[in-house]
Chain length 334, copies 2
């Protein structure tokens, strides 16, 4: 059978362009012993994928002509693999491809019981997938929240940020978002139900704007953006504050990133800052997914998906993320 996939045609310089991606046809053999054929129904586009497209000093880059990596959901359509029965709903890092042959490694068979009512199957690569799990483990493990503390979250209308704010509320935190533009701010206030939301585009001085919303200071900053937003948060942290580095979307397209100016407050205020890669928590995914699904089912956590139609749209959907146009989790229906 023939699969279609997108490969890396050229390494992006700054914001990726359409010409950095090339579609290809690929003949797939029938699954061998211990293998299964998966039909991908949805693939994700995510700002965090940007780093793998460029060679750099600390992480191996994707090779030219290799399939673009991403999370996906699929269905097992033919199987000679006991772990992947035919008809199973599965998730994994399939990449931008319509079909994949798998021996089951790195593929999770999803429990259909998770998906009912408000929990749609696409949530498997959204609020129950990498974005939601990043919020869950980043806030819960690295943030070390205690009831009554104040949580600030950047990119608050994004899939990670909106989930982090809602988990924070369920854990008894005061929640403040930072988002760009009135519609996103309204979404954070009305659907995410944060206690406050700062539209950074409407502020000359973000440091002062945070201070107005949290005169008591910030205990936990959950950061998806980096740069100037991270600096403004550092200047508002309480002594003993924790900074969780979940993403740095303002930095990914910079050859030399801006970074932060304020390291001295780490001493005077005993701050700590930690980054996470969610796959380090793989063994605890089922626990987290069950808890998140229960929160969604009860209405405590809402999520928003933007589903773009068609394999051909994948590069455009990805590039658009860096223009700040997206809202909630962006998926492409294959």
């Amino acid at each position: 059978m023939t699969a279609q996939r997108w490969v890396l045609a050229a390494r992006p310089d700054g914001v990726p362009r359409l010409s950095d991606f090339r579609p290809e046809m690929l003949d797939l053999p029938p699954p061998g012993d211990g293998e299964a054929l998966i039909r991908i129904t949805h693939a994700s586009v995510d700002p965090g994928m940007r780093g793998r497209l460029t060679g750099d000093s600390y992480a191996p880059a994707l090779g030219l002509d290799e399939t673009i990596e991403s999370a996906g959901i699929g269905e097992v359509v033919a199987s000679r693999c006991a772990r992947l029965p035919e008809g199973a709903l599965v998730t994994g890092g399939f990449g931008w491809t319509t079909h994949a042959i798998s021996d089951g490694r790195g593929v999770q068979v999803l429990d259909p019981a998770l998906f009912r009512g408000r929990v749609r199957p696409t949530a498997a690569i959204g609020v129950l997938g990498v974005p939601g799990l990043t919020a869950y483990f980043g806030l819960g493990d690295l943030g070390r929240p205690k009831g009554g503390e104040t949580l600030l979250v950047s990119s608050a209308a994004g899939p990670v940020g909106a989930t982090a704010l809602q988990i924070g509320r369920e854990l008894g935190l005061k929640t403040i978002g930072i988002a760009g533009g009135g519609p996103k701010r309204n979404y954070v206030l009305e659907e995410v139900r944060a206690n406050a939301c700062i539209d950074y585009k409407a502020q000359n001085d973000l440091t002062e704007a945070i201070r107005r919303e949290a005169p008591e200071g910030i205990d936990i900053f959950f950061d998806n953006v980096g740069g100037a937003q991270l600096d403004a948060a550092i200047l508002n942290m309480k002594p003993g504050g924790r900074i969780v580095i979940s993403g740095q979307v303002s930095e990914y397209n910079q050859e030399t990133p801006r970074g932060i100016r304020w390291v001295t407050p780490f001493i005077t205020k005993r701050l700590s800052m930690s980054g996470l890669v969610v796959y380090d928590y793989r063994k605890r995914f089922p626990e987290a997914q069950a808890r998140l699904a229960a929160w969604i089912e009860s209405g405590a956590i809402s999520y928003r998906e933007e589903i773009i139609d068609g394999f051909a749209e994948l590069p455009r959907a990805f590039i658009g993320l860096f223009g700040g146009e997206n809202f909630g989790r962006r998926l492409v229906k294959m």
Copy 2:
């Protein structure tokens, strides 16, 4: 009786100048009930004092006309306070003053048994005082060292850095220093006995220089400098690496500090960065001082003091720290 002291005459703009300080005479009354008179024998000068001289957004500033703060050693010369018997050797934050009246709060009576052989009384505000304790708790608690790991330390010829390297060696770490200039590098190799030392002044590319000395990567970076040295270390950290922010001497005199460019590796390499204020560990000071004294007595840890003679020299001794001229712990004999 009359004490002499140095007060803050003007807030420094950049590197402090002599005119920012003013000497004053102060009449001290005899100690009241519950008080003691302490004659200060030695006061410290420390780069970390710089922050308190300027008003900023996160820590209260010293007031104009107030005594410059510093650690000191003294002797109780008259007492109506049970905690401070006459003749006792004491240490505390007395400031740049020749005498002080104290009710005992914040003053530690030193156990004379600590001071014998290689452990001189001046060590109480050096290797057994804030610098040594910062090295001890910063490396031991925030650094979470495991035998066989690689430790990188900036300002390696300074009192904090040199102690951190030696504690690291005693804990079974591979130790690498960064220092400025040949004499400091030699001191770090010969007296501190680090496994390697990089003279950053002799390197065009500090990131590459660290990579050559630690091709396996850095597990713990103990940083006293900040800025470009911190960036170069971040690019060399191993996954799971810990960065201890002990000082940021390259930043203290900058109105807008340089900061760091590289926050994205905190995600990809799961780094963590934490700052400390050593006074948070006050309850454990005796335990740490006993262990450090035993290491010194056995010859495992050496320390170097530069003792400048005369109360009048205090501002000059402090200002000189920012020119990189000092070597080991700098004290002023009153």
